[in-house]
Every structure is written in structure tokens, then in C-alpha cells.
Amino acid sequence: MHQENELIPHLFRTEYAKIVAVLCKLLGIEHMQLAEDVVSDTFLLAAETWGMKGLPQNPVAWLYTVAKNKARDVLKRNAIFSNKIVATLKHSGSEQIAEDIDIDLSEQNIADSQLQMMFTVCHPCIPAESRIGLALNILCGFSADEIADAFLTNREVIYKRLQRAKEKLYAQNIKIEMPGVQQVAERLGDVLTTLYLLFNEGYYSASQNTVTRKDLCLEAMRLSQLLTRNRYTNTPEVNALLALMCFHASRFDARTDATGATILYDEQDEHLWNNELIEQGKYFLSNADTQGLGKYYFEANIAYWHTHKADSIEKWENVLHLYNRLLQLEYSPVAALNRTYALSKVYGKQVAIPEAEKLGLRTHLYYVLLGYLFSDIDNTVALAHMQMALSLCRSENDKASIKKNIERLSSK
């Protein structure tokens, strides 16, 4: 039994969303619920059958066959069948049609369907803040509970948000299809933003559940990779985003300890960094190098320099330059703080302090930066900043590292 217990959640994670995408494409978005029910039933049957009779030789093939049969049964009974599918298959004889419907669960069609579904999920009619949840639910097979856990909100909120977004898709009858070449160019940015946020949600989330967090990152990478495999969506920007994800993900095992607490970059054991992912990142970055220096390009290059653990003037001059460029393109408080840190690495703390004071931020991370910059220059001021940081901080992980700094400064 043990094996089945492990296998079904795993298959559910990898296969559920794939089959749903193919069935939705076949039935139309308005029958998404039906598609989900077919696939859920399939997994239910798998749990019962495999539990009693043992595993089939090829569990994935078993799931696909059962899902196809169930889908055909539903089609035979259902009104959609007569109204919609038959209309498109009029040339065939009526009796045989259900048997003839091609439910194509080939690797290619799954990839195509999921790619098209990405554009559907990120359709302009869906509010930006609902797209990540919808992507997790439809494209990654996450339940409302799992999404709520990852986002640290309650299940009801997520459930309602998903329902509203899905109803919008049904109401507007959004086709699951690849937008035209011109539209791909216009809408790819929204898809990338969603994948970027999905990854960040996993990478920076305050959730202690490291397994879920890693899953979010891996799903964002899988979906980005789907984009690189399609001729129309394999743009330098997509490659830059995927490079960024690879470089960050390379530190996944090094950045949390056994309890799930964060290990800061400087304290990480770089032997735990994943070289294979770093190499993949370099490959995707080389594809990004051709044109259109966008936000992901600069962020990926910054992440690339962070795969060099040792401090060097070259590293920090490059990082500083990249942050200068990134901020001109798009301001963010975190980038502003990191830019000032890089400035201190190149020109020293004395130069960075007045720059930091100009930032006009009042977050705990701002005071952590000031505390760092004043360390060994004026430890009393440094201590005051760290204490300010502690009073503003809400994240348990960050609190722990601020407390360490306070201890260190107090003993000086």
C-alpha cells in the first residue's frame, strides 16, 4: 500500500492538470467543471483499483485510458455532445461519433493545450491578482486549500476568487487557443508576470511549508519551459525569466535549514548549490542576450553574479550597474535597498550611508540595511537601527537574523 500512497499524490500533481487542459480544450472552457470531474473520478477510481489490485504496469497510461473512456461516456450522455462536438464532426455517422472522438493525450497535445491554457488564464478579462491562483489551480492542479496555504490566506477567500475568475472565463466564452502572432507579443508580458509572481510566491513566501514553496517554484519553471519550446513564445524575455528562475532555484537546498528557517546568502554552504541549474541558467541567459534589455534580463544577470559566492570588485561593480539599470526601468523598494548594498560593496559604507538615507523607506529591511552600513562605523547608531528593524519586522525568519545582529552589536 505504501507505494500507492506515495504515487497517487505524485501523479495527481503531474497529470491532473495536463488531462484537464486537454479536456477543456476539447469541450470548451464553459465545461471546465465537467473536465475536472472526469479527471477527479479517474483518480478516485485509480485509488480504489490500485489499492485492491496493485499497480498497473504503466500507471500514467492507465490514467489516460480511463480518463478518455470516462470523457467519452460523459460526451455520449451529455447535451454538449449533440450541440457542440457533433456540429464539428457532422461528416461522420452519428452512432460511431463518440467512439471516434479523438481525445489526444499525446505529449505534444498536452504541451499545446497547457500553453494555450496559460494565455486563457492570463486573459485580460481576469484581474491580475486572480491569475496566479487560477494558474495554480488549472495549470498546476493545486486545490484551494494548497493555494491558501501557499498564500497564507484562508481557503474561503481563495475559493471565492477562483470561482469568480472561472465564471468570468465561462461568461466571456474565452477560447482555449493560441492567440495570433501579434496578440502573443501583446499578451506574453501578462503571462510572464504571472509566472514571475508564481515563482516569487514560492521563493519568498513566509509560509513555513518548504515542500509547497518548492513546488510553486518548480511549477513556474515547468510552465516557463513550455514557453521556450514553442516557436512563437520562445522570446529572449522568456529565456531571461527562466534563467532568473534557474539561478535562484539553484540555491533552494542551501537557503533553508532542517526546520525551514532561512539561511542568509552569506551563510549558505555553496556546495549545496545546484550546479546543473546554474548551467541551465547560463544557457537560457545566453538566449536572452540578443535584444530588448528588459527587467528579467537585468534580474537574471544580477542572479547570475550571485552564483559567484566570493566577493570581487568585478562582481559588485556589475551588480551595482545592473541595479542602476533595473531601477531606471522599474522602481521597487527591494531593488533600491539592494542597489545601495552593492554601492557599499564597491565604494565603501561611508559613500553608501548618505545614499541609503535618501531612499525614504521605512520598512524593517531599510533599517536592517542602515544597521549594516553603520556597523563598525558607529555601532551605537547601528544598534538603534537594528532595534528599529526588529520593532517593525513581522516575519519570524527575519526577526531571528535581526536578533543575531543585535546580539553581535551589543557585545561590541
Partner: protein, 114 residues
């Protein structure tokens, strides 16, 4: 927040051609100057202007650049966001153009509904 333009007026280059090393150093200074404004969330956009150009004056009088003989030339500009002219003016301090004999002029951008 209102928008202001920072105009970077160059001194005439004359015969003083900077060395590649000096140009490299100058580039870094500009990079950090712009980065500093952007890190305050006040950068909107900007452009460098080339030294070549043509001028049309009344009576269809056309003059061609370069403008070595002219006292000063606009080298570039950036648009920034700030609460007041004084706040925008603060951003002029530290501009690399000041180290090579140029100057910065700060002017408000008039919005369409003003």
C-alpha cells in the same frame, strides 16, 4: 508628485578629448548618478543627445552642427518626479556634468491640465 526636467548643459568640449579610461570612469559616474535618482523612486525617463544636429532659424536659415563654437550645448535630459522644485533641485547635486564644466538646469514640466 509633479514632473520636472533636469537639463544637462555641456561646456564646449574644445580640444580636450578625454582618454578611453576617462570616458569609462565618466560612464560609471553617470550610471551611479542615474541609479541614485532611480533608487529614490524619482526617475521617470531620460535621453542623451548626440552632438550632431541642424538648426532652422527664421528666413529658412539653416545651420549644421557640431556646435564646438557655441558656448554650451544640451547634452541630455531626464524627467523626474518630485514634490516641489526644491526637491527636484536636490537631485541635481552630484551630477557628473558639474565636474567637467557643465551645469544642470531644473525646470517644471507643465502638465496638460495646468
Amino acid at each position: 508628485m509633479k514632473e520636472f526636467v533636469l537639463l544637462f548643459q555641456n561646456a564646449p568640449a574644445g580640444d580636450n578629448k578625454p582618454s578611453p579610461e576617462q570616458m569609462q570612469a565618466m560612464m560609471k559616474e553617470w550610471d551611479n548618478y542615474m541609479g541614485s535618482i532611480a533608487a529614490q523612486g524619482k526617475y521617470v525617463s531620460g535621453s542623451r543627445l548626440g552632438g550632431e544636429g541642424k538648426t532652422l532659424k527664421p528666413g529658412n536659415v539653416v545651420t549644421d552642427g557640431p556646435y564646438a563654437e557655441i558656448k554650451e550645448i544640451l547634452g541630455g535630459f531626464i524627467i523626474v518626479k518630485a514634490d516641489s522644485l526644491n526637491d527636484a533641485f536636490e537631485l541635481a547635486y552630484g551630477c557628473p556634468i558639474l565636474t567637467v564644466g557643465g551645469y544642470v538646469e531644473v525646470r517644471p514640466v507643465i502638465g496638460t491640465n495646468e
